[in-house]
Symmetry: C2
């Protein structure tokens, strides 16, 4: 997608321009290190897209877009410590290279640096953006804590799960769009509409992630097949399977999810229940449902349809990852 | 001091009133836990004092005062993980009770919650306060990193040290005063003056901390005698001693500081050098110097002297801890 490349270039240039040169380097180098490894950088792009949609000045949105990217990377640094992850984007994680203390501290610093990147905005817009930003950050922490709770919680419901992924994934995309809209001085209703578009696309994206873990083409998806099953993750597939399983199947699911094993029988049997309860179809329908809700919010915005095309394309890109 | 008791009560009431009731409790309970343990809560009191000095509405300053206290406690949670500290204010630290992951995450959340507590301010004041707050947070991270660097750095200078304690201790008191002043709509010059008062009192306080570690009355000071020497801490005493030592004394200092030992000979010999180089007197003079600089900033503020009395009293209280 041409428009994505264009935004990606803007973000990449800004990241180069705003590389931290502060001291001590032991604090700031790890921040530059993780930011430089890229990833798709979709969240800052969302800020720019929304700013463009509502006719704002893209230059004003660039530093706030970086704020979102920095914030995202701060969460990655701390999440990697919590998950004891040795690699991120195929590079050693910060705590692996420099120890947990540097990971904690450079993560903290990166979160604070993110706030600085709103400071060029005039006070009214500054306050509106920083409020959203702080609120989003708190929801991310809450989502992360719910996710941790799920590991030991036996009565996780479908609604619990949707809330968790909304907080962990949906809200940051949603807020990225909303912040872009506010910088462009969009009205409250439109800003909320683009927020909700982002939220539901984010939810759909996360459900797709769960789906592809089991039903995806491994070569394209690029992760270990059924990693979530091996890890006993309470994904949407698991939760829906448990809901629609027979008494006997539920017992079998509970049996397999009560232990961590690399036994291939586990994946084989769990997947059999997944197919029997048709959670693959259900998950695809759920993705479609959230996509449609997202699109309906997009439709509410009184702007010519052709200007909204990139948003539909982005949703397609995110939700058709296999094709 | 009567005025301190009054402010302390206001802060204590506000902390009770704003106890976090959010979910998940696994995230928010640790925040309430550390905040409820108190400490002197001098920083939020500084916000209130400055607001009062400049004739502001104390009610507007209460939530920002809590923001400072929350931020301070966030740094304590993360510092305790980094220092592997089992106790804080005689209670088990959060990571000791709940593990490192909960410590990291509830610290992150507490920092974010702190930002929320400025949101009742009107946009202009909000932006001014949040800017100071973010900047202060970054300096604290930098100070913490310098402190970590000092452990292995052999060429720490006196200026390095002053910068480190300024960032780690001075700036947060300074900013607490400044934020209180801004909420009261003090002019820029006065806000900077009260900032600088706080900064130099903070620096003096930290030097006093180093001094009392060796020359304090152990019973009153309440810490292990010469803990800094056992820990090879590059305190102001060590740095000044090294500067004024003979070649032979310097070699002896380097010898003792090259190893960690509980050997009482270490303390005996290091203290002998401290006394020979007269760093006790030098430290007291340095404390007095920073106190005087602080007082000179206080003098510049065009407000009747009797209104400033609590500030001089607070400085006295902080810098005469032994008497």
């Amino acid at each position: 997608m041409e428009f994505l490349d264009r935004y990606q270039q803007i973000v990449a240039d800004a990241i180069t321009k705003y590389t931290f040169k502060d001291k001590p380097t032991e604090l700031y180098d790890p921040m530059n290190y993780i930011i430089s490894h890229g990833g798709k950088r979709l969240r800052p792009i969302m800020v720019l897209m929304a700013c463009d949609l509502f006719g704002g000045d893209l230059k004003e949105a660039i530093k706030p877009a970086l704020a979102i990217e920095f914030f995202h990377n701060f969460t990655l640094i701390h999440d990697d410590i919590m998950d004891e992850a040795p690699l991120r984007r195929n590079k050693p994680t910060i705590h692996t290279l420099h120890g947990i203390n540097v990971g904690i501290l450079s993560g903290d610093g990166l979160m604070l640096k993110a706030y600085k990147f709103f400071e060029d905005l005039e006070p009214e817009v500054f306050k509106a953006c920083v409020r959203i930003f702080t609120h989003t950050g708190l929801l991310l922490c809450e989502g992360q804590q719910y996710d941790i709770n799920f590991e030991t919680q036996t009565d996780v419901t479908f609604d619990d799960y949707i809330r968790m992924i909304t907080y962990k994934t949906g809200v940051l995309s949603a807020s990225s769009f909303e912040i872009g809209a506010l910088i462009a001085k969009a009205n409250f209703k439109d800003a909320k509409a683009i927020f909700n578009f982002g939220k539901h696309i984010g939810i759909a994206f996360q459900i797709m992630d769960d789906y592809l873990d089991v039903f995806g083409d491994q070569a394209q998806f690029g992760k270990k097949h059924a990693g979530d099953i091996y890890e006993n993750k309470k994904t949407v597939l698991y939760l829906m399977a448990r809901e629609h399983a027979t008494e006997e199947e539920r017992k079998e699911l509970d049996y397999w999810y009560s232990k961590k094993t690399d036994n291939i029988d586990k994946v084989y049997n769990v997947e059999k229940i997944f197919r029997r309860t048709k959670v693959d179809e259900k998950a695809l329908r759920l993705i479609e449902k959230h996509n449609e809700i997202g699109q309906s919010y997009l439709k509410k915005i009184a702007i010519p349809e052709d200007k909204k095309k990139p948003f539909a394309e982005l949703a397609n890109y995110l939700l058709r990852r296999e094709s």
